[in-house]
Structure formats: C-alpha cells, structure tokens
C-alpha cells in the first residue's frame, strides 16, 4: 500500500517536487537557525514564543477536528461520512507531525528533545501535551492504516481496531484541551488564564477543521475521482457553522468579562490586539480582518440558501479558516506576551527566516498529506489519469469500480 505513494503521473511528481523544493528552501533557513540560534527569529526575551508556537496551537486544532467526521460515523452511524473518516484521520496525521515539528523548531536545543521522555515531568503540561499528541498520532496512523488496508483487501477491519477508534474520540478532545492547559495554567499571563480557553480552542478547531476538510474535498473533486457526496459536505458545513457560532460567542464572553470587570492587566492584552497599545498597532488590522471574516462567514453559513450553494460555501469556509488562523496563528500567542510582565510592549513580527522555517514544516506536512492522500485515492481507484493519458482517446486502465 505504501508503494502507492511512489507511483504517480507527472502532475503528482511535479507537485511532490514542488513541495520538496519548499522543504529544501526552508531547511536551509532552519540550518541557519541551528547555527546562529533563535536570534534569527523575531522573538525576544519579552515575546519569547511567536509564530512557531502559534502554528503549533492552530494545527493541534486541525488535528483534533478529525473527530468531527469520526464521531458522527462511528458513534451515530452517519453513513455519509464513511468515505471521509480516513481523510480526516490522514489529515490529523500530518497535522500532528507538524505540531511536533513546530515545537522542535522552536527549541533552543532540539537535539535534547528526548529529555522530555528521559526525565518525564508529570507536573508540566508540555509533557502531557507530548504524550497526548504522540498517542493521537499513533491512534490515527494505526486506525487510518488498518481501515484503509482492510478496505483494499475487501474485508472488514479487524475487531481490535474498534476500541482504538472509540478511544480516539475523547483523545482528540484531549489534545486540544491539554494544549489549552499549556497556556491557561500560567498565572503570569492574564490573557490566557481563562477557563474558556480550552472550550474556545475546541470550538475554533471544530470550525476551522471541517472548513478545511470541505475545501480539501472541493480540491480533491477537481484532482481525483473522489466525491464525498452532497450530504457529507452539507453536514460538515453545519458542523462548521455551529462551531463557529460557539467560537465567536466564547470570544464575546471574554471581551465582556475583561472589559466589564475593567481589570487593567486583562484589558491591556485586548487593547493591544484591537486598538493598539503604547502606539504599537502591529496586529490591529489583522484582528479586525479576522473579526470581519468571522462575521461574513457567519452570515453566509447561517443562511441555508447560501450554505447550500457550493461556491458560496467555499468562500465561507475560506473565511472561517483564515479568520481562525489569524486569531490563533497570529494573535493568540503574541497577545499573551504583550504587554510583558514589566508592562512593556515589545514589537514582534516573524522574520523571513522564521517564516521560511515555518514553510519547511508546512511543507513536510503537505508532503506527508499528499503521500497519504495519494495512497487513499490510489487504493480506492479514485485517481484521475495523467494529463497525457487524457489527451489519448483510449485510456490505458479502466477504473475497477
């Protein structure tokens, strides 16, 4: 089955070559970071986590969102998702790997990463996060692989896989919860120290993940013979809609609590994000863009007429995804550090080098996802013939179903 990933037409190999080129370019930037240290990033003693950790946080959400197809299918027997579960699981796999890589590239001493296992520290949420992420990776690899290979063999998946699938559902919730605990347990950072952080993370994940999945389905429909079916897409859209509602709701809760109570330590962070603080407006336009997109997305999604039009749904999904990416992937982490414990506002924006390293990690994720999806579609006989073959009047192979 794995060999499906290394057979393909020119279009496929062209894409893989492109992704490898991205990775290679990013790797050069990473080597530079290894050599010179994290000074090549925009990070500072005040804003000590930035783009890398923000990407990590965002991607944990993408990974966790697989549960939004797994749960309806396996617990509620929602048949329309039968073809989607593996897509979800094989989206979770590269996402978790990217999460781990973003942590590694953020480390000052990446070659000591194994110390987390060698000296397990039960009091550190980071230890638990690593445990839950690797567990989730393991679960998704095993489940996705076993289900797909059984599908290929034309037999029912082995019985022992069922408990794994059931466990994977709460496990998905756990990865994003523990990730929220990384932040929300810090007394030093009032912005994060809120009980709704984990629910907010989950709500945003369950909006962004299904939105991404819908976009992937649209893309795959263009590139392959795969079709998830209208029902599945609409159900995903509904999931994204309500998750987005809850997400926006929770953000508004935060805003109320912060500003009505009027505690300056809490307010400053929101001020920094939405109006700027001490003359620093770096994130202000972004955050308003995010809010605007959220509003647009909600209007489009909540109106059934729009939601059911696939073109509009596509736009809405892009709006959801980008809105949440800005919120989590840009704002969430930096705002926690701004203002600093000393009340200072230190400007942070990722450097080119930092951005390139992120490209490397995204590239590795894309590569893994491409390989895995290639395997899925080849096994299911859903690949489209190469362009050359299309020009040819007679196709060499005829699909077996």
């Amino acid at each position: 089955m794995l060999e499906k990933a290394i057979t393909g037409d020119k279009r496929y190999w062209g894409w893989i070559a492109f992704v490898l080129m991205l990775i290679g370019t990013g790797a050069i930037a990473y080597l530079r970071q290894l050599d010179q240290g994290l000074t090549v990033t925009g990070l500072s003693r005040d804003v000590s986590w930035g783009f890398y950790i923000a990407q990590f946080t965002f991607l944990v959400g993408v990974a966790a969102s697989a549960v939004m197809v797994v749960l309806p299918y396996y617990l509620h027997n929602f048949k329309a998702f039968s073809k989607l579960t593996i897509l979800g699981e094989f989206l979770a796999v590269p996402s978790v790997i990217m999460c781990m890589l973003f942590i590694v590239v953020d480390m000052g001493q990446p070659f000591r990463v194994q110390n987390v296992m060698l000296y397990p520290s039960l009091n550190s949420p980071m230890f638990w996060d690593m445990m839950s992420l690797s567990g989730y990776l393991f679960l998704n690899v095993v489940i996705g692989y076993m289900v797909l290979s059984s599908e290929k063999k034309g037999i029912a998946p082995p019985k022992w896989i069922k408990p794994f699938i059931i466990i994977s559902i709460p496990w998905a919730i756990s990865i994003h919860t523990v990730t929220a605990f990384l932040y929300s347990g810090l007394a030093a950072r009032p912005f994060w120290m809120t009980a709704v952080l984990a629910p907010r993370f989950l709500a945003s994940a369950f909006a962004a993940g299904p939105a991404l999945l819908i976009l992937i389905i649209f893309l795959m429909r263009k590139l392959t013979r795969f079709d998830a079916g209208k029902e599945a897409i609409q159900k995903l859209a509904v999931i994204a809609t309500y998750a987005m509602c809850i997400n926006v709701f929770l953000v508004l809760m935060e805003v109320f609590t912060t500003f009505y109570s009027g505690m300056p330590e809490h307010m400053h962070h929101f001020e920094f994000l939405y109006v700027g603080l001490h003359g620093n407006n770096t994130l202000v336009p972004w955050m308003w863009l995010s809010s605007a997109l959220a509003v647009v997305a909600l209007v489009l999604l909540l109106t059934p007429k729009f939601r059911k039009k696939e073109v509009i749904l596509g736009f809405a999904c892009i709006a959801v995804f980008v809105s949440i990416w800005i919120d989590k992937g840009l704002g969430m982490i930096v705002a926690g550090f701004t203002p600093s414990q000393m009340g200072e506002v230190v400007d942070y924006w990722p450097t080119l080098n930092e951005f390139m390293v992120s490209i490397m990690v995204w590239g590795i994720g894309l590569l893994i996802m491409s390989l895995l999806y290639k395997i899925i579609f080849t096994v299911r006989g859903e690949t489209k013939p190469a362009l050359e073959a299309k020009e040819d009047k007679k196709e060499l192979t005829v699909p077996s179903n």
Partner: protein, 330 residues
C-alpha cells in the same frame, strides 16, 4: 533447536576468546587471528566472486517487473524492466541501496469466503534496511580506529549518528538500531512458523554472532567494562599498516569483540553472507530487458540435432503432395 545450536556456538566462541586471553594469548587473538581473518575475508570474497565469474551467463533472463520497452506511446518502466544501461544501474541501485524487491513484499492470508487477501508486509524490508544501513554506518564509524588523522567524513557521520544528546559517551543511534533490527530478524525466525521451518543453523549463527559483536561493542562503550581506546587504536593502526603491536593492558572484552569479528570475517566468504557480493551479480536483476533488440551471446552455444526441413519434407512428402502443400523437391 537450530537456534540453540547457533546460540551455544557463539557462547562457546566467547568462552574460547575469554580463556585464550586469560591464558595470555593476546598475540594470537590480537594479531595472528585478525590477520588470518582479514586475509580469509578479502581473498575469500574475491575468490568466491571469481568462482562465480568463471561461469558464464548463457542467457539473458531478466525478471521483468514492469512494462517492457516496446511501442513508443506505451510507457516503459525503465527501472523495473530496464532496457538501457542507465536503467539497469538505477534498478540495481534501488535493489542494493533500498531493497526494492523486498519493498514489494506482501502477506497472504486466507479468509472465509474463501477469499485470499494480500496485505502489506514491510517489516522485513524495514528491519533489513535498518540493519544493513546501521551496520554500514557502524563500520564506517569504526574506521576512526584505522585512520590517522581521522578523515572529515567519518567525523561528520559520527556527529550525525550522535546527534541526539543522550548519555555520555554519546549514544549512537545506529548502535541501537543495529541491535533492535538484528533482534527483530532473530525473533521472526523464532516466531513465524514458516520462517522457523525454513531456517537453518547457518541462518541463526550469523545473527547471534552479529548480536554478540554489537553487545560486546556496546559494553565497551557504555559500561564500566570500558577499555583504553588509545591502545585499541594503536593495535588497529598497527594491524592496518602492517607494523603489528599488541599494547599491554587492553581488557578481555575487547579481545572477545575482536575475536567474534574475526570469526565473522572468516565465516563470511563461506556462507550466505556472500549475498553482499551476489546481489550485484544476480542475472535476473543486472541484465537489460533488451533481449529482442540486442543478441546475447552464449559462449558454450553448441550445435544440436534438429529436425531439418529437408528431413521433415522427406518424411511427409506424400501427404503434403496430396494436400497440395508446396514442396521444395517434387
């Protein structure tokens, strides 16, 4: 049973070396035997290759694992069914470096139905690949004992191998990988009924031998059984440059390690381990599938007795005539 034989054979070898060292036979174990072993290995392997080379390859019997080169608009698979030299080199490179054929491995199982299903089975490929690559890197790392000054590429490989900062002295990943993979290779022989059935003593022996070599090596690096490696290098340099010396006071564990390596080297040319050289000479893999394009010469192609047309026509002339078939001679 067969595994036990091999296991005890290796234990006995270890005991032999130990007794020999306590009996102060360091010159034998440190100099004489290594030279014998190196000679046996080098000349043995070369000899075996020459013996193979003595036999011709009378026919071009490529196993074609992909589409042949035929019509211009049918895509030829030049790596699986190569028709050019470059294709053959590519195919061989994939075989030698990445075990291409083993990567294809499947596992058949018979389900009710009856239905035969073919599952993926990449563990042997993975373990084999890990085993051979880590063994190679371990050997390259050991060249630091034989080369002075130590060349850059060895330093580079060493530092990459010890990239993860675990333990002092730093834990080499290939060492762990080697031991894990060789253990897997043993376990599959022990536990999978069919593999167990086909395994011979000579399949277990090298596994245990390599395992013992790796373990003694690890003991010397990571435990208080450590030896003075300056002296070891002195000995190794002496061996390599033919100015042999056996420095005093290297621990017995080193001589056991060296003795087991010597045994492996001597054993190598007379065993299945020759697959190292054989893979390059396997006619089903290293030949082009250009049979109909280019004539292959069989050096012993002797004439044989065929039924010639003339004889044949003589035999059937009457019936042919009757049937109105054209004839050479009326």
């Amino acid at each position: 049973m067969k595994a036990l034989y091999s296991f005890f054979a290796v234990i006995i070898l270890i005991a032999l070396a130990y007794l020999g060292i306590t009996a102060d036979m360091t010159t034998f174990f440190g100099l004489v035997l290594p030279y014998i072993a190196a000679a046996a290995f080098i000349f043995g392997v070369a000899y075996r290759i020459l013996i193979w080379a003595k036999s011709p390859v009378p026919f071009k019997i490529t196993t074609t694992c992909g589409q042949q080169k035929s019509l211009p608009w049918i895509k030829n698979s030049n790596l699986e069914s190569p028709h050019t030299t470059l294709g053959v080199i590519g195919r061989m490179a994939l075989e030698v470096l990445f075990f291409r054929s083993l990567f294809r491995n499947t596992k058949m199982s018979l389900k009710d139905g009856p239905k035969i299903v073919y599952g993926e089975n990449k563990w042997l490929w993975l373990a084999g690949l890990v085993f051979h690559w880590s063994f190679l890197i371990v050997i390259i790392r050991h060249l630091r004992f034989f080369f002075e000054p130590v060349p850059e590429f060895i330093l580079l490989i060493q530092s990459l191998d010890g990239l993860l900062e675990i333990y002092v002295p730093v834990l080499y990943m290939t060492g762990v990988a080697l031991l894990m993979s060789v253990t897997y290779l043993y376990l599959r022989r022990a536990l999978i009924p069919q593999i167990n059935y086909i395994s011979l003593i000579s399949d277990y022996f090298p596994l245990f031998l390599i395992m013992a070599i790796a373990i003694t090596g690890a003991l010397m690096r990571y435990t208080p059984l450590r030896v003075d490696i300056i002296k070891v290098k002195e000995l190794a340099m002496g061996l390599g440059s033919f100015n042999p010396v056996v420095p005093e006071g290297i621990g017995a564990i080193f001589f056991i390690h060296l003795f087991l390596i010597s045994v492996l080297l001597i054993y190598f040319p007379m065993s299945k381990l020759m697959h190292m050289a054989g893979i390059f000479m396997s006619p089903t893999r290293n030949m082009k599938n250009d049979n109909r394009m280019k004539r292959h010469i069989n050096p012993w192609n002797y004439p044989v007795d065929t039924h010639s047309y003339e004889d044949w026509e003589d035999e059937f002339r009457d019936v042919m005539k009757e049937a109105g078939l054209p004839l050479e001679k009326e």
